[in-house]
């Protein structure tokens, strides 16, 4: 009985080995079904998913206007404190009233975990997540960004 089991073991081992090697051979001869994927070096033609949460950006239109009113909803929603909004008071040219507006929208990319809660909280859709994925820099100060462009102002009609 022992000899019988022994031979059976060897036979099943060879069979399982052949099954595994058959598949290895299949992939060896079918180069088109390649499994590994390369790092996306094709930056120009690469299309990432539109919702991909890479970093927070503030879109500006052609008149250099954005939709941020400086309400600090995003600052309150951020779990890591990676957003800091510095506000100022603008004087309206026509009515002469003092109006609250953003001075600097400081974004700490180094603290951000890309959770998307700021975008969810924004009442005017002034910020969004951009599909970028390479953020490494040599100086960490470069990760602290100012999102509103110089001389930009709130789009008319955004409250």
């Amino acid at each position: 009985m022992f000899i019988k089991d022994y031979i059976k073991d060897i036979a099943s081992a060879l069979k399982s080995l052949a099954t595994g090697m058959k598949m290895t051979g299949y992939y060896f001869t079918h180069h088109k079904e390649i499994i590994t994927e390369q790092y996306p070096d094709n930056r120009d033609t690469l299309v990432l998913a539109e919702r991909f949460k890479g970093e927070v950006v503030m879109p500006h239109d052609e008149n250099n206007e954005h939709a941020c009113t400086g309400c600090t909803s995003c600052e309150l929603a951020c779990p890591n404190g990676s957003i800091k909004i510095i506000t100022k008071f603008d004087v309206d040219a026509e009515t002469g009233k003092r109006k609250k507006a953003i001075d600097t929208w400081v974004y700490h990319l180094d603290l951000c975990t890309m959770c998307g809660l700021c975008v969810e909280a924004c009442p005017t859709n002034a910020i969004k997540m951009a599909p970028t994925f390479e953020h490494s820099v040599f100086d960490r100060n470069k990760l602290v960004k100012k999102l509103n462009e110089d001389g930009s102002k709130v789009r008319a009609g955004v409250e």
Partner: protein
């Protein structure tokens, strides 16, 4: 700290118990431990006498952090606990907050959540399958499992915006609606999965070397499973009925048709088979839901500032590794007074010493592979 002479003085002499024992450290940086787990192993020859897991290398005090975050904010942190089933962790947190607020989640949001939960479960089991085969010295399966997992990651990336730590669930529903391509992508994935799943059995399951290394290794009896508090595939491998989706169904799981996978072997191979079969069950759930996603809102209306009424809330869900429980004590404020996570990995790891004591050191890696440990989940 010991000086050299003191070590020699403390060492057992000839004839004393413990003479000839070798204490080795596996980890905290070791390719076979899937993270920063430190195991202090006492060996006699090649036989394991004792294993002491040394934890805390990746402790980030998530429970304490959550006490200073609001009920919307704390969900994102839980993605970092068991990062392979991030969606399911977020689901537990969203459910417990909804329980406190008594919010009715729209049907569409519930279906979306279950779909993503099951996709996460498949992705997690596929990574486990590849990593476990790699532990045992087979490198190729890792690429095969990552081919299917990549497809799931693309689905996640398209709808949730991230591949691993999604933070897609919010109290009251999900953050955004599904991507228009979602159904097509999932159907493509199911086709690919069904076409390729036989390779898993051909490459690994049927392999005689693999079977000899798994069968009879790391045995744990049903009684010990219960006394150690093991859950998930570890418990079901020993025949303990423990699937939270069946035992105390949450979301829409009670309406779905799927089986709880039970094996009675109790060894590493049984746990392996449970996970492989669980992937088929997840596919079965996805197939039931993918054509029947109801129309409607994806998010219930909630207040801008969430405040849980004073009291205690608990909700447990079935992650890819076992039972995850979230316990919140609220004092009525905007942040929780206390949060406790009952993580599956911690209980499963505590049974490791019992499983492998008296075995060989090579078996340790095989047994630990089938526990599917995620260290950030254990340390939190």
């Amino acid at each position: 700290m010991y000086r050299e002479t003191e070590i020699i003085k403390d060492a057992p002499q000839f004839g004393e118990p413990g003479f000839g024992d070798l204490v080795i450290n596996v980890g905290p940086q070791h390719p076979a431990t899937h993270g920063v787990l430190h195991l202090i192993i006492t060996l006699n020859g090649e036989t394991i006498k004792d294993i002491k897991p040394n934890l805390g290398y990746i402790h980030r005090s998530i429970e304490k952090m959550c006490e200073s975050l609001t009920y919307r904010q704390f969900i994102y942190v839980t993605s970092r606990m068991d990062y392979l089933s991030a969606h399911i962790n977020n689901h537990a947190c969203a459910l417990v907050v909804e329980k406190g607020l008594q919010v009715e989640v729209p049907e569409r949001a519930q279906v979306i959540r279950v779909l993503f939960d099951e996709l996460t479960r498949i992705a997690s089991h596929e990574l486990w399958w590849g990593a476990m085969a790699m532990d045992l010295g087979a490198f190729t399966p890792f690429f095969h499992s990552f081919r299917e997992r990549e497809t799931i990651n693309v689905i996640m990336e398209e709808t949730c915006g991230a591949r691993l730590t999604m933070n897609y669930y919010v109290p009251g529903g999900v953050m955004w609606d599904l991507h228009p391509d979602f159904q097509k992508r999932v159907k493509d994935f199911i086709t690919l999965y069904k076409k390729k799943i036989h390779e898993y059995d051909e490459l690994v399951t049927g392999n005689i070397i693999f079977q000899n290394r798994m069968k009879g290794i790391g045995y744990i009896s049903p009684e010990d499973v219960i006394s150690y508090g093991c859950t998930g595939p570890v418990a079901r491998g020993s025949g303990v009925h423990s699937d939270i989706r069946k035992v105390s169904p949450y979301s829409i799981y009670s309406k779905l048709d799927f089986d709880e996978v039970l094996e009675t072997g109790g060894d590493s191979f049984a746990r392996y088979v449970v996970r492989i079969k669980e992937m088929h069950q997840s596919i079965k759930i996805i197939e039931q839901l993918i054509d029947n996603i109801p129309e409607g809102d994806f998010q219930a209306k909630t207040k801008a500032v969430l405040k849980l009424p004073k009291g205690e809330y608990y909700q447990s869900v079935e992650t890819a590794r076992g039972e995850l429980g979230v316990y919140i004590v609220s004092e009525g404020g905007t942040t929780p007074y206390r949060i406790k996570f009952r993580s599956p990995g911690f209980s499963n790891l505590s049974a490791l010493n019992h499983m492998i004591k008296g075995g060989k050191i090579g078996d340790l890696i095989a047994a630990m592979g089938t526990l599917d440990l995620v260290i950030p989940d254990i340390d939190r």
